[in-house]
Amino acid sequence: MKPYDYTQVRSVRQAIRHAGEGTAYLAGGTTLVDLMKLDVMTPARVVDINRLPLRGITFDRDGLHVGALERMSDVAADRTVRRHYPMIAEALELSASAQLRNMASIGGNLLQRTRCGYFRDVATACNKREPGSGCSALTGVNRIHAILGTSDACVATHASDLAVALVALGTDVHVASARGTRTVPLDTFYTLPGTTPHVENVLRPGELITGISVPSSKWAAHSTYLKIRDRQSYEFALASAAVALELHRGTIKQARVAVGGVGTKPWRLTTVERALAGRPATAETFESAVGNAADGARPLAHNAFKPALLRRTLIRALTVLQERR
């Protein structure tokens, strides 16, 4: 691991003052420490934010508010979250392992690097790790890689299950910096790789995630997260679906749909949402509504199965949800 300056801070103001270009904030460390060991991330300064008061899980008329330093396991176990936002709890419990969920923070989960095996391997070319060096995955082993939002520079998948659920629910991210605070919708928080895959979100150097807000809605309580993977547990998604439905007498009034394991960022599917709205909640509706879910997909040599898998994952998630009613 490359040397770095370590500072522990006790206030957001102090954190921001210490941060800037070349700074990494340390929360659970499950991504950062791993990538620093591999020399994939080499910050000059590490600012330990674990003592900041960015805690709390509260629920009010506006919705759910979660402090950035709440741990994944605590949010997953929270009764309010389980009752009013089941897809969030499900996405969290299907993530990583119990130990990692005890460690990883919500802010850190959202900032985990979009990555693939080549990104982690400093012996290979990777535009994300070393801009301009090339993409080993394009012609390499790319079974688990993305089919949506890719570019010739990068085809890595965004790995967060939580982010898929949060994007479906229209979550806002609160950030703080020396310039003050701002709120960014999570859907536009993430950027596509394009020619600059080393940039993954709209955070500016030194900006700190302080928390998230998930709006209240008529569909969040009737939601689910389905994750399809090579192993039954402790594995990234080959395809996943976060689905929420507002049903009225068997008819879908509104739907929220996002998918994971297939995109370079959490992928909201508004076309599917529109195709579901106003239709009876039946197998036929689900089948036809997901027909265009993988439009624009660019399959690679080893993941041509993903468009079909994506559609089937969506249908199964919708069916599970309908039957849960």
Partner: protein
């Protein structure tokens, strides 16, 4: 090495390491410790080291660490607590699982500096004197191991899982223990051991 031992030398352990390493530990004492008060870690001092004070297996330990040092390496290389195993060192295998403030975590992805002020329990801290923890006993009774390398992590993870209240069925145990890999594939017996130990722990 050389923890600032507030409570004398703990219990005589059942560990092989303690038995073999006793004289070595005594001889290697004066490496690092300056008596440091309870001031929390803020930043590295002139020599680049950061003071850390934690309760490890019930003993208060004060030491100074490189901010890059993991809790795993600090336990094994500095504090001679080698029961915690270094498997992948990448957060993938679970062999390094310990409890920090009662929660199971991966010590290979935990920087030692962040354990300042924490309560850490390793496999060495689980037994009550010569009496094994019910989970340790159950792993022996059920042959929940072959080579044994993953076992400390399996046991630390299993104990925490039972405390979390999520060891209700074989299916739940398999899901909640998926972060602990056993390359000998002793999984069926591990599940049996946990189900058994859970009954004793619940009493």
């Amino acid at each position: 090495m050389n923890p600032d031992d507030d409570e004398g030398h703990g219990r005589s352990g059942v560990s092989r390491r303690g038995f073999l390493g006793g004289s070595v530990a005594a001889a290697a004492a004066p490496l690092l410790v300056t008596a440091v008060d309870a001031t929390p870690a803020e930043a590295a001092e002139g020599d680049g080291l950061v003071a850390v004070r934690a309760r490890i297996n019930g003993r208060t330990v004060t030491t100074r660490v490189d901010p890059r040092a993991t809790l795993l390496d600090t336990l094994r290389e500095r504090l001679e607590l080698c029961g915690t195993k270094k498997g992948c060192d990448r957060g993938q295998c679970g062999a390094c699982t310990v409890h920090v403030d009662g929660r199971r975590v991966l010590s290979c992805l935990t920087l030692a500096v962040t354990a300042n002020g924490a309560e850490v329990t390793t496999i060495e801290g689980l037994a009550d004197g010569d009496e094994l923890h019910p989970m340790q006993q159950a792993f022996i009774d059920h042959d929940g191991l072959q080579c044994g390398f993953c076992t400390p992590g399996q046991i630390m993870s299993a104990v925490a899982m039972v405390h979390e209240g999520h060891a209700g069925s074989g299916e739940e145990i398999r899901e909640r223990m998926s972060g602990n890999i056993c390359r000998c594939s002793a999984y069926p017996f591990i599940v049996d051991a946990i189900r058994d130990a859970q009954k004793v722990m619940g009493r």
